[in-house]
Amino acid sequence: MRETIIQTDVLVIGGGMAGCFAAVKARAAGRDVVLVDKGWVSKTGETPYAGDTTVFNPDWGHDLDAWLTQVHTVGEYLDDPRWTAIVFGEAYERFLDLKAFGVEFLEEGCEPVRLAHPLTQLEMPDAHKFPPLVSQVVHWLPGWPAKLRKAVLRSGATIVDRFVVTELLVQDGRVTGAAGFDVDGREPRVIRAGAVVMSAGGGGFKAIGYPTHGLTADGHVMAYRAGAQVTGKEFLSPHHTNPEAPGWPPIYPVFASGHSAAFPGAWHDPEMVNAEGDEVPVRGMAWHGWIDAEWEAHEGRAPVRAAGPPDGQVRPLSGPGGQGSMLGHAAGGIVPVDDTCATHVPGLYAAGDSCGTCFVGAAYSGFGFATMHAAVTGARAGLGAAEYAQGADRAAPDAAAEAAAVERALAPLRRAGGFGPRWTTQVLQNTLAPYFVLYVKQDERLRAALSTVEFLRDHVVPKLYARDDHELRLAHETASMVANAEMKLRASLFRTESRGTHFREDFPHRDDAWLAWVRLKDEGGAMTPFAEPIPEEFHPDPALPYEQRYPMRLPGEEA
């Protein structure tokens, strides 16, 4: 295979909401931009499933403090209010950008229709204990993702679809580009860039029933391997599905209709009934369910039945459909070191679900938050990268290192045999899927799962082989998922308390000594967790009784 080399100022990896904004903004700053995606820009990752977005606008009577309080309380004080304020503060500008891109919104008169937080329309048992859910959403009309793609093209950025980036090139401690291959079997590529924006989305395990299909934590893992820090891995967003026909009906058509708020309960399953016929207490006010159903199962009260989307029919729930689905939605990812979304590795920027701003904290309290977070961080990362690329003095490329990176990308294709990516993925899913590993967590079970993941990491991943370019992609995705599994298990073991969507059977309460973010960094080849303390000013008032600081009852805390 011949190797092609592309030169650009800014390389954006991942073409969803964040990546498109990064590309457009970097281009607007006058830089050359290349936007690559392992799928099809605008139809990749979570983006096509977003039915709406949240727009904070004082002129619409929105009160910033009330919005921040909603996130702070539901997020159990693990949000970073500085980022939360930035996301809300710039939402309206990004909204105007989207309109400029040609994205149409549901409007009445010339005003976009603003819908209240869907949970306010549901009977939530503990609602009164929580601050009011004030965030609102606006709806775009079907076909909007195509407008994003057009905006990127209009900006003059170059789009490279169906190209899998396998690693970041690092020279003298700086990111100088990336290497990868083309899934249609054409030549591998090296892309030299002054700066790189990682906007490759979140990390799942190819679960059925929630569209995290292509999201295999590629971005987190590449950045981590390049020396960046990762945070928020102990949290997850549980999603359920229908065991008789997992993932059916496909939800994309419903989302794409642009009216996802229209369907009942969505993933929250607000009216779950357990095997005893009792109503299952719904914990918290996060949009996505917590571990209510998992706990019922754990206590021997499965099956749990609930009205499932999109038709609202009552079915037995099955779970975790997410199989450790996403990282805490828009909460975890690559740690940004400043408000330009720069990371610990000079030249590398992060945006969207790849960026660990922790702006929602330990649980996702919003609706349409992730898309706006992606737009805002995408724009900032694009501008940050553009500025860095302008100033960056380009060192002479290290051809040998580039060739080695390309060889590593193609290694599974070169192997005559070894372990198949599908088998390895199944073994990994079998290790993580049981609710008693990543949902109802406990020290020795987490360690047991980690031991299997370490075996896959050390023995199987180095022997992954691919019969063709498609399996080559699967092999690299599998390697990323194995690394992501280690991140989730280590972070979960490290946080010896329960908070938000992180529940430890052996530490079943919040412990305010844990008002800290768990970060993971590579130390001498060992994945090492450490606690990054949260500034005192963001702590809850310790004088408040526990029940008021934490309105959500964790399993075992019911009065």
Partner: protein, 82 residues
């Protein structure tokens, strides 16, 4: 619980109601209790397809070759607790 309708289309696939004489030999043949006689017609029916281990004895023992077994067997995802 199983992986869904998928399962019923694999392993033991069908018993042809036209051909089946209701002799019950397949019910005896099945070590996994997959096949039962139905209450109405007294014909053999595939009751628990997800348990089929493809031993093929039902088909081999059927005097009228009414049973189709395919080599495919897809597994349920380990999703459902109860």
């Amino acid at each position: 619980m199983t992986g869904g309708r998928e399962v019923s289309r694999v392993a033991i696939e069908r018993i042809d109601a036209e051909t089946c004489t209701g002799c019950g030999s397949c019910v005896d043949s099945c070590c996994m209790d997959v096949i039962r006689m139905d209450d109405e017609g007294g014909l053999a029916m595939i009751r628990y397809p997800e348990d089929c281990i493809l031993c093929h004895f039902c088909a081999l023992d059927c005097p009228v070759d009414a049973i189709t077994v395919t080599p495919e067997k897809t597994g349920p995802l380990p999703l459902s607790w109860g």
